[in-house]
């Protein structure tokens, strides 16, 4: 009995070190586990697929350098899906890191020109503005109120795609990429509620439960975490970084589950032994 009780008092550092080792192993010895698709991911993909030809998609890009491990699979698979369908895209960054990540990824990992796109005609990149919720509202109502030029300094009116393009009326779908869980409300309050713009969202794994109350009534679909990014990779047939992470996550979580079991065994062993003593 005393051994069982000790299971509840193991030094945390054992948990840390076993998790670290087990997470690392599949990086060297891949297992290749399959993934199962979930409804919000299927609906996210369906929302892009359902757009008529030559639709315009606005991507509110909330990329963060420190969170790329979680976000990268999502946005790479999303961009590949959009570009393969030929829709026009307007990227605007809501985080400081956004333009740097776009520069790094949108020219090296997914190249729009490979899909026959021309900058300024089929897609534009507006750069960073610390939008926040009021900024999202301003953008939806009057893009030029927030951006006078694109990220390269070209005035918006000199970009063919942006001529006569200035607010929500020109946008068929908003892909709202965010990292701060409650920010989903900004898209709902400033896009869905006032303009009934169709919104799909990508966010971190932790934000899934917070996005769920708004799905499917206010957001048509969402990706939460790199796991959902992996699902989109599978669904859209665009393999990417998500798949490589799956195995490590599967094995790395095991010590946590075992330690939770240990904690419960120790608790009940303690409880029953006290009852026996009484």
């Amino acid at each position: 009995m005393s051994i069982l009780r000790k299971l509840g008092k193991i030094d945390y550092r054992w948990l840390y070190i076993t998790s670290l080792i087990l997470t690392a192993i599949p990086l060297f010895v891949p297992i290749g586990l399959s993934v199962t698709l979930s409804e919000p991911v299927k609906d996210y993909y369906a929302a892009i697929q359902a757009l008529p030809e030559d639709s315009v998609i606005a991507v509110s890009f909330g990329g963060s350098a420190a969170l790329l491990d979680e976000q990268e699979a999502q946005f790479l698979a999303t961009w590949k899906t959009i570009f393969s369908l030929g829709h026009k895209v307007i990227f605007y960054s809501t985080t400081e890191d956004g333009p740097m990540i776009l520069r790094d990824h949108l020219g090296k990992k997914v190249i729009p020109e490979d899909y026959g796109y021309t900058y300024g005609v089929d897609y534009v990149e507006l750069g960073f503005s610390p939008l926040g919720e009021p900024g999202q509202a301003s953008f939806a109502a009057n893009i030029r109120g927030v951006y006078q030029a694109d990220s390269r300094g070209t005035p918006l009116d000199d970009l063919p795609m942006m001529i006569g393009f200035n607010n929500f009326e020109n946008i068929d779908l908003l892909i709202y990429e965010y990292t701060s869980c409650t920010d989903i409300e900004w898209a709902i309050r400033q896009w869905t509620v006032p303009y009934q713009t169709k919104v799909i969202a990508t966010t971190l794994g932790c934000c899934g439960p917070m996005a769920a109350p708004y799905y499917p009534s206010q957001i048509a679909g969402f990706l939460s975490g790199s796991g959902a990014g992996t699902e989109l990779e599978v669904l859209s047939g665009n393999p990417g970084p998500g798949a490589a992470m799956s195995d490590s996550k599967s094995i790395g979580i095991l010590p946590q589950l075992i330690f939770i079991a240990f904690g419960n065994i120790a608790y009940f062993a303690n409880k029953f032994s006290k009852e026996d003593e009484q």
Binding site: Y12, M100, P130, I260
Partner: protein
């Protein structure tokens, strides 16, 4: 003087708050224009104040060094390193621009790695806290444990493959009881925030009206 120190700020809060509300609820163009203008102001005010942080950080760092300097040379290193890194990065940003390859090199290797590593550390801190608290010692604790475990298993490919129905169960946890509880909490917190907001605009919120 009291009017300038206390009453005018209260009035400013009230006027700007009401202007923003009018912009949201009316179709009068002037309020929309004002909303956009004021929003732009907030970004500027905030951005201009950015050096304040450096002032506080420098002062605290200097005082820490003065207090610990006799304990060893390492404290001099701790004191100098932030200034050195600041100077190098700020210089690179000013000389080459924040979107230059030099700055991006710095950004990619320092900023990105430490940021991501801090999040990795959180995996461990959450793990140890779960080991301590995910104990089914009551029905409330059992609910916490069940919600946490089922949704975790749903997210991990290994369990998706070997536990039939775990995806459905995990989705159900997320889309049904989580929504019920979470929505109730959101409504309650929103009401708390609203009540406080209204008091603020009425000039009755102590944190805004009192100060040294």
């Amino acid at each position: 003087m009291s009017t300038l120190k206390k009453e005018v700020p209260k009035l400013i809060v009230m006027v700007f708050g009401i202007l923003m509300i009018l912009g949201s609820y009316t179709t009068i163009p002037i309020f929309d224009t004002l909303n956009a203008e004021l929003t732009s102001w907030t970004m500027t005010i905030s951005a201009v104040s950015v050096w304040l942080g450096a002032v506080y950080a420098t002062y605290a760092n200097y005082q820490l060094y003065m207090r610990n300097r006799k304990e060893g040379i390492e404290h001099l290193i701790y004191f100098v390193v932030p200034f050195l890194v600041f100077g190098l990065q700020f210089g690179a940003g000013i000389l080459y621009g924040v979107e230059s390859s030099q700055y991006l090199w710095y950004f990619a290797h320092i900023y990105t790695n430490i940021g991501a590593a801090v999040y990795a550390v959180m995996f461990f801190t959450l793990a140890s806290s779960a080991y301590r608290t995910f104990i089914a010692s009551s029905w409330d604790a059992f609910a916490l444990l069940a919600g946490g475990l089922i949704y975790t298993l749903r997210q991990i490919p290994l369990f998706q493959a070997f536990i039939p129905g775990i995806v459905g169960a995990g989705e159900w946890i997320m889309l049904v009881p989580n929504v019920g509880g979470g929505r109730g909490a959101v409504i309650a917190a929103a009401l708390g925030a609203l009540a406080l907001g209204i008091r603020t605009l009425m000039g009755k919120e102590a944190t805004v009206t009192e100060g040294a």
